[in-house]
């Protein structure tokens, strides 16, 4: 089963964990065949939001959420179950600076 581990960090902790640590973590997961994808993100200041309403595309700067922590990156993992996913999430280095949200991936229902 796939789990998306979303890494949240406060702005001033964005680079608190050295990149090489995150890379080592991702490589470790990949070597064990558990990593489907992982990327870090640029800061929220670089974000753009796109919406389509009545066929018209609206583009806005942001979002700049009120919460202090923002999405800083993700790991898409292949885990046996939630316990395994939590176990792996606890190994993601930014877990000690910010937080990791573990979300099960849903299968698209295309048949009906």
């Amino acid at each position: 089963m796939k789990y998306l581990c979303l890494v949240y960090l406060e702005k001033d902790k964005w680079h608190a964990v050295p990149d090489r640590e995150c890379k080592a973590c991702g490589d470790g997961f990949r070597d064990r065949g558990l990593l489907l994808a992982a990327e870090p993100l640029e800061s929220v200041e670089t974000a753009t939001t796109v919406r389509v309403r009545n066929g018209k595309t609206y583009i806005t700067d942001g979002p700049f959420a009120e919460t202090k922590e923002a999405l800083a990156g993700f790991y898409l993992l292949d885990a046996r179950d939630l316990n395994d996913a939590i176990q792996m999430a606890s190994k993601i280095p930014p877990a000690r600076e910010g937080s990791i949200e573990v979300r099960p991936v849903r299968e698209l229902v295309v048949g009906s």
Binding site: M1, D81, L82, N83, I86, V102, R103, P104
Partner: protein, 414 residues
């Protein structure tokens, strides 16, 4: 056997086995809702067949197989496609192979699996409690809602959400691995203690004790101690038994709170005290006693004192020292201060409580102010006692507790 006595036998088997059968069916079917439905169908089948054919030799195995068969049959009926013939064949084979599904060892494991799954830390604490009472104890949603003074639809929603998360996020149905066991067991013990406390001292409302939840918590503690006899499990069960042993003495006939020192000790339940004390000794002698065992040891020291005056306060202060070192919290320090006051006099206790209050964490805790008031009263500092009782009264929510504080206030010399 006459039909009536068969029905009675089935009722007895339901009482004794339905939770075990459910725990196994959840493993076999991999789904809480399907398992509940299958359990229901299995007992309906028993009601039809057993009067005709007699009660089977191993009713539990029969029920598990019947439940499993009915669940697979339901899927087959739903789909009515050839592709499912394969599943059907497997089902028939498994129906013959009954014993393997329900031997003693795997049934015990299933019960532990169920407990650990219901108390999984990825579920909200109130959902853990609700799910445990429903699935492990077999209480109805309405009974749980009533006990927690929560509207039944809210509680039902909580249970549905928790089951949804178990299914969708794939919380595994398993006993945690050794490395995680201590942490996960803590969560289970916390749930049991929460259930007990909810029964022992409701957080608001008129009645202070709610019998059923305390009994349910003790039953759970007993079950867990049987399945997993770890020192902290024994410690918790001992604590529950020793606290519960005072149930008959802690309320007057008028429904007023009676403090420990004023309780009629003859009303204490000796059977629970004996069992609780034995469990404390076991837990302590293991060398790895935790906070529950230490709290139980404190309760056991109270229990062995024939009168309040005969209490071994030195021993109790020593145990609180251990507890403060093991799991520091301002509330534990407050309890220690009260014990120090009993051993060394009210001034010594008051000094600790004032220092605690000055730290700020307990400034809205009613019992801190009530304890301070009591010590001031004993020292003859009536004005200080009055001010602290009034502060405690402002913070107290339970009616019996409010009446106790009001009584203490009225008794103060002007």
């Amino acid at each position: 056997m006459a039909a009536d006595s068969i029905h009675q036998a089935i009722e007895g088997i339901y009482e004794a086995e339905s939770r075990r059968v459910l725990a196994t069916l959840i493993r076999v079917l991999g789904d809480f809702d399907k398992a509940e439905e299958a359990l229901h169908d299995a007992f309906r089948a028993a009601l039809e067949q057993w009067p005709r054919e007699g009660v089977p030799g191993n009713p539990r195995a029969w029920l598990v197989s019947a439940g499993r068969f009915k669940a697979i049959d339901a899927v087959r009926r739903l789909k009515r496609f050839d592709a499912l013939d394969e599943v059907g064949e497997k089902a028939d084979v498994a129906f013959i192979d009954t014993a393997a599904w329900a031997d003693e060892e795997s049934v015990e494991d299933d019960q532990l699996r169920l407990i650990f799954t219901c108390c999984h830390p990825a579920l909200a604490p109130e959902a853990q409690v609700a799910l445990t009472l429903r699935e492990v104890c077999g209480l109805t949603t309405e009974e749980i809602a009533h006990a927690f003074l929560t509207p039944a639809p809210t509680l039902a929603q909580r249970i549905v959400r928790a089951k949804g998360k178990i299914r969708d996020a794939k919380i595994p149905y398993e006993v945690p691995a050794r490395a995680d066991l201590a942490d996960r067991l803590d969560a289970v013990l916390r749930v049991i203690y929460l259930v007990f406390n909810e029964g022992y001292a409701a957080s608001s409302g008129r009645q202070v004790t709610r019998h059923d939840l305390s009994t349910e918590a003790i039953r759970l503690g007993r079950l867990l101690a049987e399945l997993l006899p770890a020192p902290e499990v024994q410690g918790l069960l001992a604590l529950l038994l020793l606290q519960d042993s005072r149930r008959a003495a802690r309320m007057s006939a008028e429904g007023d709170v009676v403090l420990l020192e004023d309780q009629e000790r003859g009303l204490w339940n000796q059977e629970q005290i004996v069992e609780g004390t034995r469990l404390v000794e076991q837990a302590l002698s293991s060398g790895s006693a935790g906070p529950y065992a230490i709290q139980a040891a404190i309760a056991a020291v109270h229990a062995e004192a024939a009168t309040a005056a005969a209490t071994d306060w030195d021993e109790i202060v020593g145990l609180y020292d251990l507890l403060v070192a093991m799991s520091p919290s301002p509330v534990v320090e407050l309890n220690r201060a009260v014990a120090v006051a009993m051993r060394d006099g009210p001034a010594a206790g008051l000094a600790i409580i004032d220092a605690l209050l000055a730290r700020g964490e307990l400034k809205d805790y009613r019992l801190a102010h009530a304890a301070r008031a009591e010590l001031c009263r004993r020292l003859g500092r009536t004005a200080d006692a009055r001010a602290s009782f009034e502060r405690a009264l402002k913070l107290a929510k339970q009616e019996p507790e409010r009446r106790l504080i009001e009584r203490r206030l009225a008794e103060l010399q002007p």
